[in-house]
Amino acid sequence: MKKLINSAGSLVSDALRGMAAAHPSLRVDLENAVVFRAEGARPGKVGLVSGGGSGHEPLHAGFVGHGMLDAACPGEVFTSPVPDQLVEATKGVDGGAGVLHIVKNYTGDVLNFEMAAELSGDEGVEVATVLVNDDVAVRDSLYTAGRRGTGATLFVEKIAGALAETGAPLAEVARVAREVNERSRSFGVALTPCTVPAAGKPTFELGETEIELGIGIHGEPGRSRAAMGEAREIARVAVDAIGDDLPPSGETLVMVNGMGGTPLIELYVVFAEVEAYLREKGATVVRSLVGNYVTSLDMQGFMVTTCALTGELTRLWDSPVETPALRWGR
């Protein structure tokens, strides 16, 4: 394992130092490992807090800023943040209008956010929670921890963040966040595993002509293994998996997201196939993102995330956003 780190133990705090140095628009609380907007809480505005294990950069800290998150709590690599950290963030972003917790549906994230919400409530902050669970690879929700939260997290953060910026009340912001999640689906494919620095070796092994279908964003193996094929075929597998759950139609927001180790040129190839296939199936891609947004360390592969837009969602998607990793309109 070769990693550009000083040590596995200091990785997250070293990276936070880098973020602090790189982005004057952020205030990084190194002690509590919380990334805030530099300008602090705005009175009357709902605060948005997200968080999760590190290793998914730019998610979440790269999405702190105008029109998106108010604070992000990075945990250790692939380990959800701890309640203290989340409470610190929640108190720090409360402008009196309450705080929305955006939680990816993993047992660890759910439990830690739950505790934090309770503790924050004790301290007088009103907290609403939205659970993101867009990953169609996990089917049987009765007998599992339920679907995982993956790519749609970005959509939820962006769109709910845009609404919060208008001064909308907490219930409204939570409603739109849930709506985005309900309208979103993801499916991921890995060409290679990733290597967790503290573990020191790849999370699984894959042959020279094998891929994993239905992966999450934590280096876990997927639901099944398949033979490597052309980008066109693999893109269709992903779109079909999504379509089996929510048939594509109407105006659609699509992200072709790299898992961290895949070159951008390949992501554009995949996007070309995804867009063409969705068109063939009757949906129209009206907004898109192509790039590394919700990653899994150095894993090679991609994830397709779709969101069936409404007029309101499109408007909120288009609203100005100014964060280190997503920026338009100002």
Partner: protein, 211 residues
């Protein structure tokens, strides 16, 4: 025979050593069906526990275990942080202010830990989680106490039951936690949380055989 704060401090030391020694193994188990951090998580947590206990040594078994649990919740993250944290906290709370703990009280404390984990994680036995080691350990301990076994034998029974429970997760298909995402592919691997729970009960036996 009753056990005191020192005994529980020894238990935590034994756990810390076992987790340190077993860290890479636990992480490997987690890599197979999870996200390759379980050993690192617990190692980080118990290192912090050691520091917390050294900084303000608690006076009673109950206070000690509550501090252990709180520290785990504060430092571990992930699923195992809140779950183990709650387990130790519930056990500590069950002990109240008592300066010494009887075998029956110990057994009730483990039952409280199990109840806490069950409530928080809503996993049943057979879901391939730490509950599959914790529940049989609690049952074995309670049976041993009811049957009037010697404390050493009772803890031996609990440790054996936990270890067997962990081993028995191998053929199961996970229904909770990350491993559940793998569906049928989770079969054939030992659950990392059950494996670490076996270490925790092994450490309890070791602590007892120390004195």
């Amino acid at each position: 025979r009753f056990v005191n704060t020192e005994f529980f401090a020894a238990w935590i030391e034994e756990i810390t050593a076992a987790v340190r020694a077993g860290r890479d193994h636990l992480t490997e188990l987690d890599a197979a069906i999870g996200d390759a951090d379980h050993g690192t998580n617990l190692d980080r947590g118990f290192t912090a526990v050691g520091e917390a206990l050294a900084a303000a040594p608690p006076r009673t078994p109950g206070a000690l275990l509550v501090l252990v649990g709180t520290t785990l919740i504060r430092k571990v993250g992930g699923a195992s942080g809140p779950l183990y944290g709650t387990a130790f906290r519930e056990m500590g709370k069950a002990f109240g202010e008592a300066p010494e703990i009887s075998p029956a009280e110990l057994s009730a404390g483990v039952d409280a830990a199990l109840a806490g984990v069950r409530r928080l994680g809503s996993a049943a036995e057979g879901d391939k989680t730490m509950v599959d080691a914790l529940a049989p350990a609690a049952a074995a301990l309670s049976r041993a106490v009811r049957d009037g076994l010697k404390p050493e034998e009772a803890l031996e029974a609990a440790a054996t039951a936990a270890a067997e429970g962990a081993r028995a997760t191998v053929p199961l298909q996970a229904r909770k936690g990350r491993a559940s995402y793998l569906g049928p592919r989770s079969v054939g691997h030992e659950d990392p949380g059950a494996a670490s729970t076996a270490l925790v009960f092994g450490a309890l036996r070791a602590a007892a055989s120390r004195g």
